[in-house]
Structures are given as structure tokens and as C-alpha cells.
């Protein structure tokens, strides 16, 4: 009897934990600076969250299935570099226009998919720890982009950049494309996670891959698909990233992997796998970008302490939702 009364409360606490955190941040931001809730600021924050957000949705599936991918930040930098090189070299033949942009997008998607498949194949076919495989590919992609850029910065041709720029800056009804794409990815991710066999299989594998195997789930294939999907989403994020500043260098995408993982965990997905929540990941991403936005908008603390504040809020957000489970 006590169990049945406790269960709904427990569930709601773990669900509203991150939401409460987000609301608290929004209230704090609005009190500290009147421009915080201005349309421009909201669009800025959402658009800049889109890169990490799109990647974090893919990461939610990987982590739910008991995996991990540390290579996404370097992968994004490498794909951005590759995309810029291909578009620049195709420019004389194709001219400034939609074909060259489509070519760049195709390169990004194909590159992301291939990179994700490569990670997934090594992890599933060779049976090596995801942590080690993706730690390795993280170093490889980071070095490759430095090498492609000759230690400097790869820049998109100026006329092409002006043509491609609207993909980041403009959109429909004042909502820019990165936000729309992010929203679309989230909706699709939520449906796949909740309403498809694939989503269920991810959670089953993350809980116990042996049981999943005996329940005739094709464990290796599902795992491979989570990495391939994540790679593809890294490609999508890169398509949105390149038009922003039109450049890629060794400093691109540094620590994106940790931000994405942090967002996933803040959102309530279990790091060991077995349970994932796509909409929670969105809240996690928003919490992370709001913290730095608020710190920039106020002179509340020394900028030297920005990292400490972020770290404290990340831990607090996770404690908030774990507390409810401590009672079990």
C-alpha cells in the first residue's frame, strides 16, 4: 500500500527536478537583468544551444544503451574543417549558389555518419570499451583538423559565407533555423525513444545486455545504430555551426562532448544506461547555456569563477533529481 502512494511522488520529483532548476535559473536571470527575457536574448541562447543540443539528443541514445562517445567535439571540428575545404574547392566549378551549399551539407552528413559507424563498428565488432575507442578517435579527429588547417584556421570563402550565413541567422517568423532544426530533432528523438522498438531496445541493452540478448534483441546492431545516429546528428550540428563564423580550427568544438554528456545526465538519463529521457536532455542543454548567459549578463561574480558556478549548478541539478531516488 505504501509503495503505491510513494511511487507517483517519486516519479514526479525526478521529473520536475530539472524543470525546477530551469525555472529557477529563468527567474534569477529575469531578476538580474531586464534584457534577459527579451526576444533577442532568448533567440541567441536557443540558437547557440542548438549545436550541443542536437548532439546531446544523439548522445542520449548512446548513453541509454550503455555506451559513451567522447569524440563528438573533435568530430564536429573535423567535419566542419572537411566541409569548408570541400566547399572552397568546389566553388570555382559550382559557383556561389545552392548546389555548393548542398554539397557541403552532404559532405557533413556523410562524414558524420561514417565517423559514427567507424566508432560503432570498432566498439561492437571488436568488443572494445566505448570509452577507450572514442578517446582514441577524439585525439585522431582533433589532430586531423589541426593538420587540415596547417595549425591555423580554415575559413570559408567570403562570398560563400555571406550566401550560406542565413542558415544560422535567419529562419521562419523570427525563429532561426538552428532552433527549428533542434526542435525537430528533439521531437523525432522523443518519438523514437518512447514509441519505437528501437528506443525500447536501447533502454533494455543499457539495463542488462545479456537479458536483452536472450530476449532476441540484436544488441550489436542496436548499439551500432546509436553511434551512427549520433555521428549523423554531429553532421547536422556542423551544418548549423559552419555558417555562423565560417571557420574551423583546432579550437572548434573543444569540450562539446563533456557539455553534451553533462546535459544528458542533468536531464535525468542514467549514465550507466538503461533509462533515457530526450526532453530531459533539452532541459539539461538549456540549463547549461543559461548559466553562462546569465553570468555574462550580470557582474554578479568575478568571471574567474564562471566555471565554478557552472560546476556547482550541474552537481546541484543532478542532486535535486537523485534525492528523490535516495528513498528507494
Amino acid at each position: 500500500m505504501t509503495d503505491t502512494t510513494k511511487a507517483p511522488i517519486r516519479l514526479s520529483m525526478s521529473v520536475i527536478g530539472p524543470v525546477l532548476g530551469l525555472l529557477a535559473l529563468i527567474v534569477a536571470g529575469a531578476l538580474l537583468n531586464p534584457n534577459f527575457l527579451g526576444w533577442d536574448n532568448i533567440v541567441n541562447v536557443l540558437a547557440r544551444s542548438a549545436f550541443i543540443g542536437i548532439i546531446a539528443v544523439g548522445m542520449t541514445f548512446v548513453i541509454t544503451a550503455g555506451g559513451l562517445d567522447l569524440s563528438v567535439g573533435s568530430m564536429a571540428a573535423f567535419i566542419a574543417g572537411l566541409m569548408i575545404l570541400v566547399m572552397n574547392s568546389a566553388l570555382p566549378a559550382l559557383g556561389v549558389g545552392i548546389p555548393v551549399v548542398l554539397l557541403g551539407m552532404a559532405v557533413a552528413l556523410a562524414g558524420g555518419l561514417l565517423a559514427g559507424l567507424l566508432n560503432g563498428l570498432i566498439i561492437t565488432r571488436l568488443g572494445i570499451e566505448a570509452f577507450i575507442v572514442t578517446l582514441g578517435s577524439m585525439g585522431i579527429y582533433r589532430s586531423l583538423v589541426t593538420w587540415l588547417a596547417d595549425g591555423g584556421t580554415l575559413s570559408l570563402d567570403f562570398s560563400l559565407r555571406s550566401f550560406y550565413q542565413p542558415v544560422y541567422y535567419s529562419g521562419i517568423l523570427g525563429i532561426s533555423w538552428p532552433i527549428l532544426v533542434f526542435a525537430l530533432v528533439v521531437v523525432l528523438g522523443e518519438i523514437v525513444m518512447r514509441a519505437t522498438a528501437f528506443g525500447r531496445h536501447c533502454a533494455a541493452i543499457g539495463s542488462n545486455d545479456q537479458v536483452a540478448k536472450y530476449s532476441s534483441v540484436r544488441v550489436a546492431r542496436v548499439r551500432l545504430m546509436t553511434y551512427a545516429g549520433l555521428g549523423l546528428l554531429v553532421g547536422v550540428a556542423t551544418i548549423m555551426y559552419v555558417p555562423r563564423l565560417g571557420s574551423a580550427s583546432a579550437a572548434t568544438g573543444v569540450l562539446w562532448e563533456l557539455e553534451a554528456i553533462a546535459a544528458v545526465i542533468i536531464g535525468g538519463t542514467v549514465l550507466k544506461g538503461g533509462f533515457g529521457r530526450v526532453w530531459g536532455t533539452v532541459i539539461g542543454v538549456l540549463i547549461l547555456s543559461l548559466i553562462s548567459n546569465i553570468l555574462n549578463l550580470t557582474d554578479f561574480v568575478s568571471p574567474y569563477l564562471n566555471g565554478a558556478i557552472q560546476g556547482a549548478i550541474i552537481i546541484l541539478a543532478v542532486v535535486l533529481q537523485r534525492e528523490s531516488k535516495a528513498g528507494t
Binding site: 533577442d40 596547417d150 584556421t153 580550427s249 583546432a250 548567459n293 574567474y304
Partner: protein
């Protein structure tokens, strides 16, 4: 007799150059941080070209060039250079002052010449030669430019680099140069010498302050991010952005008379080439080169920009 004499002469003729060469082959080790950002990329480029040039010019000099991605790797590099290559001189741009001080001290104790570039060591008096840019001067030149460009005063925002002594010295120099003027610094935030970070910081500055007259981006990479944010916001109030370091794209814009980038302040990555050249000159010629070589920060304007434009460098 005759044969013996000519044979002897031949032997001497053959052996002398070989002997002389063996005695004079000197090894110079160059240890620098890897190309992890634009400025370091330029520095790597200038180090490589200096080494190539000197190897061609002086056959009696050998170079070992190592790039390190973190301080621990750099310590290993330097220890390897001493152990396996027996270097006669070390040119080092320390990743961080503290962890590199001990290892460089050991190199000095082994009798080698030590040239330290850009970042000083934690203990004074180890290096024979110190080559560096002028960080307080970098800030001062920038500050003086703002004072001159905004004679009526104005509101500006400042983007700072990664929190380091270098950054602190620059900002102090900048603030000192603005003392007594009507230029008001609205806010300062760390853009970490990174394009993406400075883009978001500038977006937030633009949301926070309705009127910004100019921006001290303090670095050309950060200036790229700042310009992107201003352009996206469509703000007309920002009159100009002053970067720093001398990235070729920015120098080009100064050269072309771009109103948003009217000037730049040098902090040349080529200073590593200065250090290698002077060290080599000291080893080869015996001319005295110990002491300090401070490379001043210069204001790049449309008039002199051509002198600072290196189209072949990656930076």
C-alpha cells in the same frame, strides 16, 4: 718519401674538414607548444621556416624541433633532447612557467645555452637570452589608440583572453593608458582567445548594453567572433573593433581601409624566429647575444599594414 709526404698531405686534407665538422656540429633544440590556436599556429610556422633557413645557411648546425600539447609532454621533449641529442642550446617557449622551470634549469646545468621565449620562468637568472613580446605595451598601445580614436569619450567593452599573467599585464596596460580620458569601460569578460566563446560573450554584451561605441577584442581571433555577433545583431552603434596579434586576414582588412577594423596591434608569433636566429648567431659567430630582447607592440594602420602582412603564414 715523396709518396709518403703526399699521402700524409692527403690524409690531413681528408681528415681536417671531417675533424673540424665533428668538433663544430652544434645541436639546437627548439621546444614549443603545439598549434592549438591561431597564434600558436603562426608561431609553429615561423619556427619551422626559421629552422629550415638556418639549416640551409649553416651546415654545422643541427636542429631538433618538438611541439608539445601540454606541459608534461614538453618536459619529456626537453629531457629527451638532452639525453639523446646532447643539445648545445635550447630555445623554449614554456607552456606554463612553473612546471617547466625545473627541467629547463637542468638543461642549463648540463652546460647548454638557454633561450626562453615569451613566457618567463618562475626562477630568474636561468636563461642566457630572453626574447618576448611586450604585454603591458600591447595593452598600452591599444589604450592609446582608443583615447585617440574617441576624443570625445565613449563606452567600450573589453574581451579578455584566457586568465593568465599575459592577459593581466595587457589589461593593466590598457586601463593605465585610458586613465584620465572619457573612455568608459562598460564591462570585461573572458573570451579565452577563442572565436566561438567571444561570439557568445559579445552577443550577451550587446543584449546587456544598448549603446556600445567600440570594442577592444584584444586578439584577432576574438575580433572575428565579435564581428560575427555585431553583424548578426545588426547593431549600428559599434564604430570599430580593435583586435591584436596581427592575423593576416585582419591585417588585410586594415590594409583595405575597413572602417570596422581601422587598426591592429602586433604581438608577432614570429618572435620564435627571432629567438632561434639570435641563438644560432650566438653559437656560430661567438658574438655576444645574452640579455633580453623585447619586441615592441606596434600599431598597424592602413599606412604601414603592408609591412605586417605575411600571406604564406597560416596566421
Amino acid at each position: 718519401m715523396k709518396h709518403l709526404a703526399s699521402g700524409l698531405a692527403l690524409a690531413i686534407a681528408l681528415s681536417t674538414p671531417a675533424l673540424a665538422q665533428e668538433a663544430e656540429t652544434r645541436v639546437i633544440g627548439v621546444s614549443i607548444p603545439a598549434a592549438t590556436h591561431g597564434w600558436a599556429g603562426g608561431m609553429n610556422y615561423f619556427a619551422q621556416t626559421a629552422v629550415e633557413r638556418l639549416e640551409a645557411t649553416y651546415p654545422q648546425l643541427d636542429f631538433v624541433l618538438a611541439t608539445a600539447s601540454d606541459p608534461a609532454k614538453q618536459v619529456n621533449d626537453i629531457e629527451d633532447m638532452v639525453a639523446t641529442r646532447k643539445i648545445d642550446a635550447l630555445v623554449v617557449l614554456p607552456f606554463e612557467s612553473e612546471p617547466l622551470t625545473g627541467p629547463v634549469q637542468n638543461v642549463k646545468a648540463s652546460g647548454a645555452w638557454v633561450t626562453v621565449v615569451d613566457r618567463g620562468l618562475a626562477v630568474e637568472g636561468i636563461e642566457d637570452l630572453y626574447v618576448a613580446g611586450d604585454n603591458p605595451g600591447f595593452g598600452r598601445v591599444a589604450g592609446e589608440y582608443f583615447a585617440k580614436a574617441l576624443p570625445e569619450g565613449g563606452k567600450i567593452v573589453v574581451l579578455r583572453g584566457i586568465p593568465t599573467t599575459i592577459d593581466n599585464e595587457r589589461v593593466e596596460g590598457f586601463q593605465k593608458a585610458l586613465e584620465g580620458t572619457n573612455v568608459e569601460i562598460l564591462g570585461m569578460e573572458h573570451g579565452n582567445w577563442n572565436r566561438d566563446d567571444s561570439f557568445t560573450v559579445m552577443q550577451d554584451f550587446l543584449s546587456k548594453y544598448p549603446q556600445i561605441d567600440a570594442v577592444w577584442a584584444s586578439d584577432d581571433d576574438m575580433a572575428v567572433g565579435v564581428l560575427g555577433a555585431i553583424e548578426a545583431a545588426g547593431r549600428e552603434d559599434v564604430k570599430f573593433v580593435l583586435g591584436g596579434a596581427g592575423m593576416k586576414e585582419m591585417v588585410k582588412r586594415v590594409m583595405d581601409g575597413d572602417a570596422m577594423i581601422p587598426a591592429d596591434v602586433t604581438y608577432p608569433p614570429a618572435m620564435i624566429a627571432t629567438a632561434i636566429e639570435v641563438t644560432a648567431a650566438g653559437l656560430v659567430s661567438g658574438a655576444p647575444v645574452s640579455g633580453q630582447f623585447i619586441i615592441g607592440s606596434v600599431l598597424i594602420t592602413p599606412e604601414n599594414a603592408a609591412n605586417f602582412h605575411y600571406p604564406d603564414s597560416p596566421f
